[in-house]
């Protein structure tokens, strides 16, 4: 009935999660400040902090002398508790990022992938390879690794277990067992949209909103949705596939096979298509690498004399993006939308103002009146960061500090 039942154990778990988020967010804090920022009682904060320090997750760094009364202990995440690794498996690269237990990034390793090589063994070996390299380059022993997270595109969960469903990838449950063997460390996997949303929830603005969507703009396009502090997964872990909702019925062909998807207009190849429609012979219209194209768009906008065709392309893209975000607002009605991904980093300054205006005029009623639309404050690769966060969350569940409802662990 009605999904997983909440228990008092979950409530204790949520209190610990609130305190962890608050310590992470503050960098350095005190028990008194935690009472203020979490809304928990002083007694609950004291209990939770005792549990988190006993297990070495949170550390007391120093005592601050007060004018009156006892000195106050300063609390921080215990960075030295161990290491977590996040691995972002994209179509054109595999990237491993290693973090300390306070989720500070220590180092990263990226390898290009031939996007036509999609057999499971190559992808498993690609993941194993960047993991080995990032550990070797930082001199981290495997024993010090609390967990490894892998973000796989198209990961879904159904009655028959977890599988990877990407067009042209033929992955099934059995190969995920190979992945577990190759990694040889506590492993979680999840799909990139859920992972981005987790990064936003732990490290970005998701902590402060009762409902939020974080939207990724790159080759692919999608949304991670957070409702009341939890990731919306959906029946098959596919919630948030806003990139494959319609912008134009029977419109442009999308690589997913459908016509008219949002992604076909605001994914990087879609933006290039728009430029081609505006100015067919424009020199940027023929760049073959997507990231080069987006970077060149940003360059063409910089300076006193922006390229008119590029400028028109950005205006048109903002119209598409704002219209598609107005749909997301119509259905989910979040308090906050954050934008992330490499198109956002490159073009956000030009895209954002017009996009906000298009949302405002198109979203129903006053659903966009108080809506915040911002560039995400999560730094770096939010996919690797997010999935490393899930690995840390899983470790905290394994040691009994959190109850874990959803992350997909192997």
């Amino acid at each position: 009935m009605n999904g997983p039942r909440r228990t008092s154990r979950d409530i204790r778990s949520e209190s610990r999660l609130d305190v962890l988020h608050a310590v992470l967010s503050a960098g350095e804090t005190t028990r008194n400040e935690l009472v203020h920022t979490t809304g928990l009682s002083a007694a609950t904060v004291a209990t939770v902090v005792a549990e988190l320090t006993a297990s070495g997750i949170v550390a007391e760094t120093r005592l601050t002398a007060n004018r009156v009364g006892r000195p106050t202990a300063t609390l921080v995440m215990n960075a030295d508790r161990g290491r977590v690794v996040g691995i972002d498996v994209a179509e054109t690269y595999v990237r491993a990022v290693i973090f300390d237990a306070a989720l500070n990034q220590l180092a990263s390793v990226e390898e290009q992938r031939d996007e036509h090589v999609t057999d499971p063994n190559s992808i498993v070996e690609g993941i194993g390879g960047v993991l080995d390299r990032v550990l070797a380059e930082t001199g981290v022993e495997r024993e010090a690794v609390l967990g490894v997270g892998v973000a796989l595109p198209g990961l879904v969960q159904g009655p028959s277990g977890v599988s990877v469903v990407v067009p042209h990838w033929a992955w099934h449950k059995v190969e995920l067992d190979h992945l577990r063997e190759r990694v040889g460390l506590p492993l979680v996997i999840d799909n990139p949209l859920k992972v981005m949303a987790t990064a936003e929830l732990w490290l970005g603005s998701g902590r402060f909103a009762s409902s939020m969507a974080t939207v990724n703009l790159g080759t692919g396009v999608g949304a991670g949705i957070v409702l009341e502090g939890r990731i919306l997964r959906g029946a098959t872990n596919s919630a948030g596939e806003w990139g494959h909702s319609l912008l134009v019925l029977d419109g442009r062909e999308c690589r997913c096979g459908r016509r008219g998807c949002v992604e076909a207009y605001i994914g990087a190849p879609g933006i290039q298509q728009t430029l081609r429609e505006i100015h067919p012979s424009h020199p940027l219209a023929d760049l073959t690498l997507q990231r080069d194209f987006i970077a060149a768009m940003a360059e063409a906008m910089t300076g006193p004399d922006p390229d008119p065709a590029v400028s028109a392309t950005i205006d048109r893209t903002a119209y598409y993006l704002g219209s598609a975000l107005a749909d997301l607002v119509a259905i989910v009605n979040p308090e906050l939308v954050t934008l992330t991904g490499w198109t956002t980093w490159a073009l956000g300054d030009w895209l954002l103002p017009a996009t906000r205006e298009h949302i405002r005029t198109q979203a129903p009623g006053n659903s966009s009146l108080d809506l915040q639309v911002e560039v995400s404050t999560v730094r770096g690769n939010s996919v690797a960061t997010g999935v490393a966060t899930i690995a840390l969350e899983r470790f905290l569940a394994d040691v009994g500090l959190l109850t874990s409802h959803a992350p997909i662990a192997l």
Copy 2:
């Protein structure tokens, strides 16, 4: 932080809600069956049943003799505990439905409204009028009424309070005070999408799905979304406005002012527009009353020789509906979609098979693989039923049996 905090009081409330839903659903049940259907422990079921019988919500009707051991008590909702009234304020009518406390419909009263008369006083008086009439016609004393629920289109909630935002309706908070005075009984108001979702959650299939969308097809079009047993409201109570998400960017004009909304294609006037495009001189293309038009469509499909233009219109509508539902599936990824509203009742038999097929081919990945798409099992006017249910829920909150997170009470 992260929305309303769950407490152990909420958990007790959820147990009571689970038991109530199970008793309502079963009609007649026993403590042992409740343990089975709710998943609660025998001790919790015993405690909750004791609380619900003590407050007169649930009654023990008779003892069933068993072959061995003590006789078993049969539990039912105590219909005589009181009455609740649900009032559906639509653009063309106001309808009041009175229910007993087991949510059995007793009687209803409907008055036509001139849709051009939108001043708050007329609408308040329209609501008060049907309420007075339904009580008079059934001989119910006002003292016996546990609560009145009113469903108002465009109802939203924001930082400045509750207001009604319908194009051409100029309602503000102050008039809602007039409504409270006119009704003179415990009052809840909510918007129709949330109300439909509540009906589905208490009386329909929503009890058995961890995520569900119920889709209304009438003049207007919208979705009520239920996630893990709770209604998705959104930041301004506007979640579910899927009818005003895009089907075709820059497409047909929608009465909301945007172009290309789902409603402009599958709302009743949109279906008529499709018929007009297929066969401009078709006799049904000029019917002025929407319900007459939809009823005539159903008639034209019945029999051995269905009207080809009507049949083509239904095929096209199923394509629009399936495409738009595939978008809802892409974003929310529910287990179940139920269809309701008078277009569904009239045309569902012809629309549903093709709609299912369009969802299946257009929804991303395997998000629609196990998706159920069904006509709602909630009988009658699900808006009146749903808002009466919210009124009952509010009464249960007022007597301390439920904690109430969201319903908007006046």
